[in-house]
């Protein structure tokens, strides 16, 4: 008996629940409801998806996710650097504290954020001590970015930390023995070797941040839609499944293409030698 037959249940499962559904998305995206109750083949929805209105929202989502990713990187990189530095003994214990929030439901995390940012919440009271009255902390772009950073920061810290922990200490010592000062050790050894972790971190923050929905709805109010919210709207409010499928298709293609590009940089061993 060949052992590869053990994969059969999975292959059948994958065909039914992964491949067929993707086919159905393509089918819905390429068709529209006909007046007689049937469906007709059309490319109208695809053309409509590239309308400036929807492209603008997509651009906005990418832009917000980009800012959130940059902020996560700026906050997270030093955290990983400090936790793995030699004079820091408890790094391997402390990293657990930094990734623990990752295990909590993201809606609860977002809800916690709403709680402290709300009118009369803890942050507003704190700012009140400095004479800032009634700050507008919720239902704006700032709140969405803050929510994304708060939710995804651990996903940035963990891969960078893992990449830095793996760095061979012999290399750092060799650089020091050869007379490199601490800045040069960082620039020539630690930073290049941490890059695969940085790329993983960027993927793990940017991808889900672009496609997020609900976070923007809860923190940004109804005026600040992201691409995910628009897709959800098509299904539950506009009831236009065909156009909703088209928008999903656009997002899926975008994400799959970019993650394959990212993955190339992560796997490529020479990726760390870029600088």
């Amino acid at each position: 008996m060949k052992r590869s037959v053990f994969a059969t249940p999975y292959l059948i499962w994958m065909a039914i629940f992964i491949l067929v559904p993707l086919g159905i998305i393509v089918y819905y995206a390429m068709t529209a409801a006909a007046p007689d109750g049937g469906v007709v083949f059309t490319l109208d929805n695809l053309i409509k998806a590239f309308d400036p209105l929807y492209m603008g929202i997509l651009g906005r989502s990418v832009w917000l996710a980009f800012i959130a990713t940059c902020v996560c990187l700026l906050i997270g990189y030093p955290v990983a650097l400090i936790l793995t530095s030699r004079n820091f003994k408890k790094g391997s214990l402390l990293i657990i504290l930094f990734v623990l929030p990752m295990w909590m439901n993201f809606l609860l995390r977002t809800y916690a954020l709403i709680n402290i940012l709300d009118n009369g919440g803890v942050v507003a009271q704190f700012l009140g001590l400095f004479g800032i009255q009634n700050p507008k902390l919720l239902y704006n772009t700032f709140a969405i970015i803050l929510g994304l950073v708060y939710n995804y920061l651990p996903f940035m810290i963990l891969p960078i930390y893992s990449a830095m922990v793996k760095i061979d200490h012999g290399l750092i010592e060799a650089a020091e023995d050869l007379g490199a000062n601490s800045w040069n050790v960082f620039r020539r050894v630690r930073f290049p070797l941490s890059l695969p972790g940085v790329v993983s971190g960027i993927t793990m923050v940017f991808m889900p941040a672009v496609t997020t929905f609900a976070v923007s709805r809860l923190l940004g109010g109804s005026n600040f839609m992201m691409y995910g919210d628009v897709i959800e709207n098509q299904f539950f409010f506009m009831r236009d499944w065909h156009f909703g499928a088209t928008l999903s298709l656009v997002m899926m293609v975008l994400m799959l293409v970019s993650s394959f590009i990212f993955r190339k940089y992560q796997d490529d061993d020479s990726g760390g030698m870029l600088w």
């Binding site: 623990l100 809800y111 507003a124 993650s259």
Partner: protein, 264 residues
Amino acid sequence: MVKVKSLFQKGYLGLVLLFLYAPIATLIIFSFNAGKTMGKWSGFSLKWYEQLFQDPSLMSALSTTLTIAVLSALIATVIGTLAAIGIHSMRKRTRSLVETATYIPMLNPDIVTGISLMLLFLFLRVSLGYTTLLLAHITFNIPYVIFSVLPKLRQMPQNLYEAALDLGCKPTRAMWKIIVPQIMPGIVTGAIFALTLSIDDFVVSYFTTQGVSNLSIAIYAMARRGISPKINALSAIIFVSIVTLLLIVNIRANRVQNGKEKKA
């Protein structure tokens, strides 16, 4: 100079931890608040916990979350482990094809996975509910199990299995006695992974069920209507259980590590 630097480093870590934990801590503290308004302390009380346990919709959401998590993790672990063993013995080209296909649901945005499954169920005229929710969770769990088990199969010495066959062991028995024990750590990791993914999921669940809510969906519905101290109580319970669970897992891992070192 070194001291100043170390102080600065500790201060920075402290600030980031404050950012990460202040919202959660506030949430937990105010779950014991007697009043309903956040930010105004009006005395200690356990009444929100009482109300939480008397809320039938939240309690049924809790049981949905837990049963779906256990069932989907169990089924995904069985299918995924068998799949990994099968994939491992495939020829190189088929193997890389199947592995790439397995990556798709992991890379695909959750919202697309959710919508594609919803369209499938509606296309087949299956009404959305508990079963569709379970099927969806099994689907997104399987790849994580496969990729937890595959590395263990690669590390395993190949000739052990063949030795068992040479000594007259039947293939199925050899699999139970030789392969499964060796890849057990991978299977356990995969199962825990599946369990947590299922508990944490909101987006896929949101699209693949109707009427039957899990906790995420219930929290989303409540959070959209505004703040309710009942959710604070719920968050506090979830947070404490997660911390306890992680502590147990870590202590176990440490003990296994120490035991190995002693033997060596």
